[in-house]
Point group: C2
Chain length 302, copies 2
């Protein structure tokens, strides 16, 4: 099995109460691939400029990520700059420079169209659609989005939502898209468009899932310090979908396991800046923390 991911490869400048990093490796496709490659084979589609330090992606190649879909175009790499205050659940975007991303039209290399699983990271829903059309063998598709597209490209976004199996958004975005304060109502409205599963990210509170069986919840791992929340959602999605792809089947049981693995992987991501923690993460450490989740969530019989 393998996963195709399309998203951004970026140079991030991030400031949090714990420090600041300047033009470090980031981007939704990178965080996703770093997480998913702990479980399965990943094929990455994205674009960078000629200024991008390609050696930064060597750790992905070493984990078997196929980077032949990474275009290097004349110009500068996509840059994002953001700040988090003590409320680490709120992102303050300071600057976004699309650069080479502005004219990006993803083209899948020959072998990529065979991927069975597809993750459409948070990019223009038109680009998401272009990729979905090219990925002919896909049997399981998950997509992310954000407030920018919900407000500016609502119709395109809805067309895309109708075409996927799993939608993930953070809770504020889901409420915005569905036009209701109730997460249950909002999730149902998305499911009525077609997706079987809605995964709602809640930052430091974890995540909840609505599938065809009902409701499922997973907390975040308790960390003394969350150093940098950047990439939490994308690495959650990578752990979640990477595991489902590796299992080869989507059942109530594998979906629940995938939710916990998503939260486990994200907990490593946010414990350091940029990709620092994900670079060194191993399946053994993931399994170890998974066991901790079993312990601190256990509802004893009464």
């Amino acid at each position: 099995m393998s996963i195709l991911v399309v998203g951004s490869v970026a140079l991030d400048t991030v400031e949090t109460p714990f420090g600041k990093v300047h033009e470090v490796l980031g981007g939704s496709a990178v965080y996703f691939a770093a997480a998913a490659s702990l479980f399965t084979t990943v094929k990455l589609v994205a674009i960078v400029g000629t200024d991008f330090p390609l050696a930064e992606l060597d750790f992905l190649r070493e984990r078997g990520v196929d980077l032949s879909g990474l275009q290097v175009a004349p110009g500068r790499t996509f840059r994002w700059s953001g700040r988090y205050d003590y409320d680490l659940n709120t992102t303050h975007t300071l600057d976004t420079q699309l650069n080479v991303f502005a004219d990006f039209h993803p083209r899948l290399p020959a072998g990529f169209a065979a991927a069975e699983t597809l993750f459409l990271a948070n990019i223009d829903p038109l680009l998401q659609y272009e990729v979905r059309q090219q990925a002919r063998c896909v049997r399981l598709t998950m997509m992310d989005t954000m407030n920018f597209w919900i407000q500016g490209q609502r119709d395109q976004l809805t067309r895309m939502i109708r075409a996927v199996d799993i939608v993930t958004m953070n809770e504020a975005e889901l409420r915005m898209y569905a036009g209701t304060g109730s997460l249950i109502t909002a999730a149902r409205r998305v499911q009525e468009l077609g997706p079987r599963v809605v995964v709602i990210k809640q930052g430091e509170y974890g995540a909840v899932m609505f599938d065809q069986q009902g409701y499922y919840t997973v907390p975040a791992y308790p960390l003394e310090e969350v150093k940098d929340p950047t990439g939490a959602g994308d690495s959650f999605a990578g752990g979640f979908l990477g595991y489902l792809d590796a299992c080869g089947e989507v059942t109530p049981r594998t979906l629940r396991q995938a939710m916990v693995l998503g939260s486990v992987v994200a907990s490593f991501t946010v414990s350091e800046f940029s990709l620092t923690a994900l670079r060194d993460l191993t399946p053994a450490r993931v399994r170890e923390r998974y066991e901790e989740f079993r312990h601190f969530t256990l509802v004893e019989p009464i």
Copy 2:
């Protein structure tokens, strides 16, 4: 076993996106007693004015709550007025009239001093201390507090915290008291003062507990509509401490069960205004929802 609770009996005026109620039954001691009496015997200590409709408390008496510690004093009953917007986690207090509560000094009736368990609801820490001194047989004490006392009576509050076994606050209050954004650090600072257990309320996200074994988390029950969050924390405490009192022992296992029962009971509370849902709640319905919690939190082995 029995629980002694001291707190407020109030007339609440509450407005939420789902409606408005005027001078209805409320108060921390009432919510706590309604919840705890599902599990054990409750003795209530509080004060009301001569304007208070005592028949409103008949349902507590029918559940075995001993109201002989309820003083009726000349004057008006404590009144609280608040509003919740779509963000139901934030309370906007519109008006607080202490009335007879202003000169309240709790006096325990003869039989009350024999209670083994004590809940000091969110009142002036000086009054909490007066009650703690009178309750000579108590073996387990839990206390709540709020930002008003953290800011205005910090030393008195700290003296009180040193004297109890279990502290509960909401997460903003705990962070304020401990002077740190990290819940783990904040909980440790409280535990260093003496309490073995810290229960942190997170509203729609549930609650977390730090005990001597470590960390435990319980989500909130998914409700399509939260009609009125008033009393959620006090009824959580009632379910939690009521169960512990009934068990007669505080172990890692009973603490975890108590956390879930707290969340179960609170989920009923917020589904209707005032005490409407708690009035009709039965142990059988609590057990039924407890089983649902087991299901939607289960972390499957991997």
